[in-house]
Amino acid sequence: MRLSELLPASQIRIGLRASSKREAIEELVSLLPLPGGNGAAEVVRAVLERESVLSTGIGRGVAVPHGKTEAVPRLMASLATCPGGLAFEAVDGEPCRILFLLVSHPDESGPHIRALAQVARVLNQEKAKRALAEARSPEEIVAVFREDERREGL
């Protein structure tokens, strides 16, 4: 699975505008190419439902909000950076600078999980994380994932 293909430049935002967790998720969802532009509210609900189990702010400035809902036909992703940091109730209490949203149809749990693991693996590398956080354009972000895929032979 290639994250770079899941994440075209149009679904990336440099500099999140949101100032709260809910707003951040709404903003990330607004970047998704939802069919007919419908179902954003349902996607937000599904993601917040997962947040209520345990915050997906996995620490060290990274959050990977995700959820499963029939409002999306297939696996979709969006990414936003937040140079100033956003309070996301992360497990280590630190503000989040990179937010990666993943939503999928409930029947697609396999790809959903593999994508999550992939995101966690990339964001676990300090160098890639720094490059993402400091990227000045969506293209630079895509390039970081491409570089990782090249190295991993994906």
Partner: protein
Amino acid sequence: MDEPLLHSLALTTLGLLLGLCVIFARYAGRAGVPLALAFLLIGMAAGSDGLGGIYFEDYPLAYHLGTTALVVILFDGGINTRLRSVKEVLLPASLLATLGVLLTAGGLALAARLVGLPWEVGCLLGAVVSSTDAAAVFALLRGAGLRLRRRVAATIEAESGLNDPMAVLLTVAVTGYLSGEATGIGGAALGILVQLGGGALGGLLLGRAGRWLLDRLTVPAAGLVPALAIALAMVAYGLPSLLGGSGFLAVYVAGMILGDGNLPHRAVILRVLDAGAWFCQVSMFLMLGLLVFPSRLGEAALPGLALALLLAFVVRPLAVHLCLLPFAYTAREKVFVSWVGLRGAVPIVLAILPVLAGVPEGEKVFDLVFFVVVVGSLVPGAVVAAAARRLGMESGEPAPAKAVLEFSSLGRIRGDIVSFTVAPPSAVCGAALRDIPFPEGSAVMLIVRGEELVVPKGKTELREGDHVHVFLRPEDAPLLHLLFGRPEEG
């Protein structure tokens, strides 16, 4: 009666009373009465003035047993306190635990003067009841199915764990002054600093030492590990006290340090300490109930009631608001922290000290303290859940699920076995195990589905409500939390 019989009688009586307390516990929880209070009332009913007619007036014995019980309870509290959440609130909690205690004691002394009690009584009373007890608050909230917001919970928990030493020091100082061993204000202040510093340092060192020992020790029987933990609690209280530090502070800090991070044999240690702390709670309150003479309380009723009200509505809120002034707490949070200043066993145990020292007002103070503690716990305790809801102090997070199976290791093992409950929003719900990309060195070991154990195979699908036991290396925890959600608690 001769000795073998006497002892048999004592054990029978004690056993019956303890059993009665345990049986009554569920009704107390339902009525919103702090459990401790229920035990106290059972003790009173069994006492010399009550139905049981048991005569008990051994103040020295009560003091020894009470202090020992407090050591176990504080150690258990410390080991269950998450060091990280305490660090977040260390400054405000420390201020509440020192200046706050001083303000409460002073304020209550003034209040006592207002209701016409002599200065000596007021000062003693203020010192004795100046520390809070958070255990009752958390028990009540748990009973009501409520979880507090993290910072508020951490603040009241850390405050109550840290403020007992100050109350002890004040009581000792006032008692010393009243019984004619005055040291002067300067000497007393210096003494308090030495005690607090020594206690904190002693707890830190002994907690580290205990951890060092537990990390290396291999024992022939699992039960020996908690025995070692209890031994550590005793030393953590005793040794720093012998060297001039505060034992209460030391034992709480030692518990916190010991419990931080990856404590070996955690499950068995916590289970035994939990049982130990309960046993100590029940016994201590029973004994204190026996020590009270209800017939003597009539005289203390009116001033006691007035003082309890002044404490809850004026003194405590003032002290809390002053101490929290430099910190960013909302008005509602301050009101809630003020409201849950419930008093526990510490004041009643401390109230024995002046009696032992032969302070003339000692017994009068003991009765007053009893009243202030009981009334001061009944009323706020009864409405603490409602207050938490009304003030919006509830945490948005659900309570973690309870594990159904528990593994504990006798030796030292690298890696953890963590269990999760599969919830529908979790990524793994509905997925087959072969689709979950476990990192090298992590795997599902066992699934508990309803009353059945399921062998994990590649094609096994995870269903809602499954308890999944996962073997994981610490560095893989973030990924597995992302996939599975919140770990269960033992």
